[in-house]
């Protein structure tokens, strides 16, 4: 639904979910809103309830304890909604990607969401450990289409 996503580009309201992260990303998200970085100039706002959210920020490898609540929160947010996996833990489980009490990043979560029939309109990944506030701003600019995607997969032959 690209046309629907177009409508949220000018005002992205974000609900922040800590799914078991170490808080470094969480404070950097907050930092992105403070004077030096000021994400609000892009229309970004942190909201207090998933009902108002356009984007759900996931920071953390999604612990088993947090999993049901994460699913509920995503389900509770109205569509169109985007998911933003933040930091190395969010993107792919990070340093905890295979421990006993996590499900290891957003990819496993997406599978579970699919099983439950919870749709997400787009997913963005922001690597970083922790994510710099500028990296958050870059991702927002990417969502809004201001900047070009710079990272891409390369396959190189050693010989």
């Amino acid at each position: 639904m690209p046309s629907k996503l177009e409508s949220i580009k000018k005002s992205i309201w974000v609900f922040h979910l800590n799914t078991g992260s170490c808080n470094a990303c969480d404070i950097e998200i907050l930092d992105a809103l403070t004077p030096f970085h000021d994400a609000e100039r892009f229309g970004v706002k942190l909201v207090g309830t998933p009902r108002h959210a356009d984007a759900i920020l996931l920071t953390g490898p999604t612990t088993l304890e947090a999993l049901p609540k994460v699913i509920n929160a995503i389900e509770a947010s109205p569509r169109p909604r985007i998911l933003i996996a933040l930091g190395s833990c969010g993107s792919s489980g990070g340093i905890w990607h295979d421990t006993y009490s996590t499900i290891g990043g957003v990819n496993s979560l997406l599978k579970i969401l699919k099983e439950r029939g919870v749709d997400v309109d787009a997913i963005y990944y922001i690597p970083g450990c922790p994510v710099r506030p500028e990296a958050v701003l870059y991702a927002i600019a990417l969502i809004k289409g201001i900047v070009e995607k710079r990272v891409k997969s390369v396959v190189l032959n050693a010989e």
């Binding site: 792919s92 340093i95 990607h97 990944y125 690597p127 990296a135 710079r150 396959v155 190189l156 050693a158």
Partner: protein, 176 residues
Amino acid sequence: MNFIRKAVKPAELLIIAGKTKRVTVKYPFEKPILSPEFRGSIEINHEKCIGCGACVNACPPNALEFVESSDKRTLRYNIGRCIFCWRCIDVCPVNAITGTRNFELATNDPLDLYSYIVHSKTKCTSCSKTGETVKMRKYIMQRSPVTENYINNCPDCRREKFINALSVRKVGFVAK
């Protein structure tokens, strides 16, 4: 008097605001505030990399991993899992890994997060089992006085040959 001064104290915030003015850096339209020491993503030079696996052993979150197949050994770098500690740079014996100050890594495609360096594996001349990477073997040969014959075998064959040679010398034949 003191009472009034205290009452209007909160308004002094306006003075501070007036003094500091705007501090916002207009990233991405301006350059970000980045210290010269910042650790960003790493770059692996595929020409220098020998596929030894020192970085794979040192990497705390397993962002650098080997993906093995019968004749290829692929070094996979997962930026999505990298914690940017640069331990791999510390341990790389051939300085193939360099650090950058790049943090603009956001993407909407999970496949973008992976990059690969494909190494061919050596084959044992005796048993066709595959072993370390070709470049790793070259690296070892340049640095240590081992014969090509010796190193072209896999460790199993090497041991077997050694035992055989030993038994030939001691008892004159190879026990089956």
